[in-house]
Symmetry: C3
Subunit: 251 residues, 3 copies
Amino acid sequence: MLLSADHLDLLARLRATRPLVHNLTSATVANFTANALLAVGASPAMVEDPEEAAQFAGIAQAVSVNLGSLTATRRASILAAVGAAQKHGTPWVLDPVGAGGISARTAFAEELLAHHPAAIRGNASEILALAGGTGGGRGVDSSHASDQAIAAAETLARGSAAVVAVTGVVDYVTDGTQTLAVHGGHAMMTQVTGMGCAASAIVAAFVGIESDHLRAVAAALSVVAASGTSAATKSQGPGSFAAAYLDALAG
Amino acid sequence: MLLSADHLDLLARLRATRPLVHNLTSATVANFTANALLAVGASPAMVEDPEEAAQFAGIAQAVSVNLGSLTATRRASILAAVGAAQKHGTPWVLDPVGAGGISARTAFAEELLAHHPAAIRGNASEILALAGGTGGGRGVDSSHASDQAIAAAETLARGSAAVVAVTGVVDYVTDGTQTLAVHGGHAMMTQVTGMGCAASAIVAAFVGIESDHLRAVAAALSVVAASGTSAATKSQGPGSFAAAYLDALAG
Amino acid sequence: MLLSADHLDLLARLRATRPLVHNLTSATVANFTANALLAVGASPAMVEDPEEAAQFAGIAQAVSVNLGSLTATRRASILAAVGAAQKHGTPWVLDPVGAGGISARTAFAEELLAHHPAAIRGNASEILALAGGTGGGRGVDSSHASDQAIAAAETLARGSAAVVAVTGVVDYVTDGTQTLAVHGGHAMMTQVTGMGCAASAIVAAFVGIESDHLRAVAAALSVVAASGTSAATKSQGPGSFAAAYLDALAG
């Protein structure tokens, strides 16, 4: 992987610290997310029950909230977890899957902003929708390129006080003042389900060990991009790519 | 893959169209199903909540309903989704997992027939049970060979006005008048969980882009069979086979 | 795989019998668990609904209960399944994921002991907690080495009349009188989510075909360890390891 000295340094610190990342996510991506966190060097916990969610958010180093396949139960668990995270000062990351495409998801994502996420990672349509624009994703896919959402990401970052990452062919990370671009990755990453969700969990792991959240999010997305680039050279299609990506994250 | 010119043509159309397939399925197979749809060239959405399910069925090109690990919530979501699919004229596919083996699944599958699935895909025991015979699968495995259920599939197709596919060593696809056989596949496909469920979702993707449903279902199962045959030559066991199968679907 | 003649004999019997193993487990590990059971030669059923759980426990050869990502619904399903298992004399296995780390899991695991599991498999922290000590795992990871929990495992085995396995770098299996050590495995096994959960399901499969439960559990963990050792030689990281492990289980 071609990572800057600073990002390699943060990755080494993550592996030494082994942060416990508490995930509230969908059944579709839970396994891949847990394996991605293990591969990168974090310790995943996947909790569904509202009571357990609050208890876990108190002992974790970071919480990762994903709105994929949202249910009434997971909505309650997410609220319990982010409430506990706020109370304990645990940083948490929001992945607003489907915001803009499904009205109830947009509304819930907006409600969650009041609980002060440390970072938000989404595709262009999701970030446009959350920033108050007309995202209009098709299902959970983006209808926009990431650079079309840079201004929206900056607006959202200033309004929410969160670091906002909009990912795509190029990723952009902003705190509303400074905006960084992360290059790399591979088109194959769009052919494996849960790549974005796992990226958000990796963002949470980095935010859990580094209080400069702009730096932490950029490092996380650089590790993701470099692993994707590396995995593409060792795979023959999306099935072998998914395994090679986990291998690369652990490399 | 050795596919007929007609099936290659449909596959090319699927990839150009990229149909959004809305899946109601179990946690066990959700990830593999989503990855299989992405690999073949469709866009998967995995929705669990009844309200979201109705909303999604209205914007999808096809709906795939799977009865594996059925719960009260998923039963409600399935009814909401097939109701919305009927209302919008969206074709939907029924995979009656466990019908014949578990009484509540048989009853629910029969209830769903009233909502006019475009296609039904099951193993021999499931199709025998749905056609009113005594399927009696052992758990979710079939106790019968696929050719023992050809007559039942034809009866079920005439009664339900759906195209019925009974899969096994040889797959049979019928509209009640014409019955086609699909050869190929590999025994390794029975050693990976969710292969049948993913096949049903791929059937839904093809039914979503081609109104001649007999032709669409046969094309889908031919792609599945050819991918299984190809993957078997590149794998050392069920773990590497699953990855090679996704690679082959994308090939 | 380097297995003793006795363990090879039991594995051959398992493959000839193809026991139906009914699993109550989390969404995160359900797919991997089902694939591990298929690979080793058993027939998995993943059931979530309380009514279906009771029905399935009556026809299965063994039941595997896993407390990962516990919810109110799964708690009800587990109680229905172990109740039906007891009634039908079906052996069942308890994997007390998170006992010691999350108070509600410890309490529920203790409640389940009254339903007489045939075997219990956990890491050192979980077994220490269940034996009445102060396990205090960090999330779902163990804070202790397996040999620190040998005495606790023996105490728990005598108190519960179950065979108890505490797994780690070395696995220990005890009925309270006799204690066996199982060597092998590989450090990579801690980098893939659900390896322990799948091991418990494989324990259930062996307990389902062999009434000498000490022998059955030792054979199951030997197959798991040998498969892990073999897979490590054929993989480049945790992603390829997971696939190679399933290949090895089927070998």
